[in-house]
């Protein structure tokens, strides 16, 4: 199980931190599932995708932050977006997929809401978060095919 620490979403930085924790948690779960179901290459692929997204988030935070419009964020409830990173015993790919589909759904919801908050702060962050949300749903669609 990957230990994640999900902060309150009150600032741009804490929203990005929350997202980094989501990516770390998701990548960890996928890695464990990849070990449990070695025949399903998709889990390994998506573990790598989530790790890459972590790097993209850090890059976005460094390059796009504009201190002039650092408005507080007061409309995101942390509890809505927490994912469970404990991996239950699974016997096949379908069962394993169910575990991570829930994570992708929650993550997608987080990024959608984060993109709405970011919209009033910085357009680049809005587009980035919106794309992340769409990618979560694409991953979920891939998982549904297993």
């Amino acid at each position: 199980m990957v230990e994640c620490e999900f902060p309150e979403c009150t600032t741009f930085g804490s929203v990005v931190r929350f997202a980094l924790e989501l990516e770390k948690g998701a990548a960890g779960v996928y890695e464990e599932l990849a070990k449990a179901v070695p025949s399903a290459a998709l889990f390994k692929e998506l573990a790598a995708a989530h790790k890459k997204r972590g790097g993209m988030l850090e890059n976005m935070r460094q390059q796009k932050l504009n201190e002039m419009i650092l408005e507080p964020i007061q409309d995101m409830e942390r509890e809505k977006y927490i994912i469970d990173t404990k991996v239950p015993k699974v016997s096949d790919a379908k069962q394993a997929a169910k575990v991570v589909m829930k994570i992708e759904e929650t993550s997608s919801k987080f990024y959608t809401d984060a993109s709405k908050s970011a919209k009033s702060i910085m357009a680049e962050a809005y587009r980035f978060m919106d794309k992340m949300s769409k990618d979560n749903l694409a991953y979920k669609a891939k998982l549904e095919t297993l």
Binding site: T10, T11, F12, G13, S14, Q62, E67, I69, P72
Partner: protein
């Protein structure tokens, strides 16, 4: 939430950087550098002597001619290298700032970005340095050219509120245009610049091109009085800006001296309430109100006053205070006990003059940080134009709520202030916005923007007692400040 790690617990005794070497000052006067959140002492800064400052000036002057002969494209390349290194150290720079200044990590990251943007602009120096020519400009067969030339040694006296960014409003342009430079960082927050200068050294700038002399007025006065220093840049309070302007000018220097501010944000009846409030929160409480672009007077026009005030109080109460290394914190402390006392005195004074304290941050406490210089968001209703709190620069998270009948009243009020740094209007009316922009006598105007912080390629403006000089920091103004035009008339026999 867990705190981000401090880069170092203690930075020890800071050194000066002169002629490419880190030198310990011989002074017997050292000041402790305090973390304003925890109260911990995180280093010591020397109050360098006049002789040490003169040695730095001589070193900078010695380095000048060979640096001036370095082609602009080569100077620019060093700034590209510097940009890459600053990106690598981005997070450390931000965290050091949080430690010594008290701002939040988001604010510090944003400030680091601002510093880097100035390096990026300076990296394009060949195009920025172009002069102009006119064939047959003087007469038939006689051409005329204007060439931009560097002047020699320049210096900056820097404030405590933006330890990374403000030195970078100046020195990259000065050095890129072929001058050499001396920075005197604020003695309250010298560690950030110390760290960044190690990165400058790593980038390969030749010895003597950039120098750091830590200290106080003895360093500043020596810079202002030395005949080999050609110009001074300053950011700070208005009384000191006036002194710097006068004293430097008396000694034949170019000067750009940014002073204090008293910024009004005007909210029109047609403003989009939620977005306006959220944007203004950043202006009044960002950097705990310690920025020269911070909102101070909140002027509500007409019938928006009551709903605005209600929403404002609700949102202000949600501002989370704490150590800026906690990424979920919205606001840190002010920089020192002295700064806190000054702000509290202003709030007390406003109360005595009849202001109604609707939200009182005077007794704010943050568990775990009892030694921190915290002041909570403070909202004072019933402020009138004659009250001290409406006129003086407070430099803390204090909102003076004022009610006016019309935009004309608001503009009249803004014009009565001796300051002219910034003013903003929140409206959906293009006509109101245009009138405001056209009429208001301030250097930085916001339309639905509460912090009018010019990007690196624009000048950081300022009128009246908020700026003394004619050429501002950043952008083309900086290029003009750090160069002079040499006119050449050419005739071939």
């Amino acid at each position: 939430m867990a705190l981000l790690t401090e880069v170092q617990k203690n930075y020890g005794k800071l050194k000066n950087y002169v002629n490419g070497e880190w030198i310990e000052s011989t002074t017997d006067k050292w000041l402790d550098i305090e973390n304003p959140t925890t109260g911990a002492i995180i280093g010591q800064v020397p109050m360098s002597t006049a002789d040490e400052t003169k040695a730095a000036i001589e070193a900078a002057n010695e380095a000048w001619w060979s640096w001036r002969e370095t082609p602009p494209i080569d100077r620019g390349r060093l700034f590209f290298k510097l940009k890459e290194l600053l990106e690598q150290h981005y997070e450390n720079i931000a965290r050091i700032m949080v430690q010594e200044q008290g701002k939040t990590i988001d604010e510090a990251r944003g400030e680091t970005r601002r510093a880097i943007e100035n390096v990026e602009v300076a990296a394009g120096i060949p195009s920025l340095l172009f002069g102009y020519s006119l064939e047959d400009g003087a007469a038939g067969g006689i051409d005329e050219d204007a060439i931009r030339s560097p002047l020699g040694v320049f210096g900056a006296v820097c404030p405590f509120n933006f330890p990374a960014m403000i030195p970078y409003w100046f020195w990259p342009y000065a050095v890129a245009t072929g001058n050499t430079y001396i920075i005197k960082p604020s003695s309250q927050v010298p560690i950030t610049q110390n760290y960044m200068t190690k990165i400058v050294e790593q980038a390969g700038f030749p010895p003597g091109v950039l120098n750091i002399v830590n200290g106080s007025h003895e360093v500043s006065d020596t810079l202002m009085e030395h005949p080999k220093v050609k110009g001074i840049s300053f950011v700070g309070s208005t009384p000191v800006a006036k002194y710097i302007y006068k004293h430097s000018a008396e000694n034949g220097k170019r000067v750009q001296a940014q002073g204090g501010a008293k910024n009004s944000l005007v909210v029109m009846p047609d403003a989009v309430l939620d977005r306006t409030v959220n944007n203004m929160l950043a202006s009044y409480y960002g950097c705990a109100g310690q920025r020269c672009l911070a909102g101070s007077n909140l002027v509500a026009v007409g019938n928006i006053a009551d709903p605005l005030l209600k929403k404002w109080i609700e949102s202000s109460k949600k501002i989370k205070m704490g150590y800026g290394l906690d990424e979920s914190v919205n606001m840190g402390p002010v920089v020192s006990a002295k700064a806190k006392k000054k702000v509290l005195d202003y709030i007390d004074g406003a109360e005595r003059e009849g202001g109604k304290i609707l939200l009182d941050g005077r007794k704010a406490k943050v568990p775990g940080y009892e030694k921190g210089h915290f002041i909570g968001p403070t909202v004072i209703d019933g402020v009138t134009p004659d009250m001290t709190i409406a006129k003086d620069e407070v430099f803390g998270p204090v909102v003076s709520f004022m009610r006016m009948e019309s935009m004309d009243d608001a503009i009249d009020f803004i014009h009565k202030s001796p300051f002219g740094n910034a003013a903003s209007i929140y409206t959906q009316s293009g006509k109101s916005a245009r009138d405001f922009r056209y009429r208001v006598q301030c250097g930085n105007i916001g339309i639905n923007v509460g912090i009018v912080a010019a990007m690196a390629y624009f000048p950081f403006a300022g009128y009246k007692d908020s700026f003394f000089g004619d050429l501002h920091g950043q952008g083309q103004d900086a290029i003009n400040f750090f160069t002079d035009r040499k006119v050449v008339i050419t005739r071939w026999f």
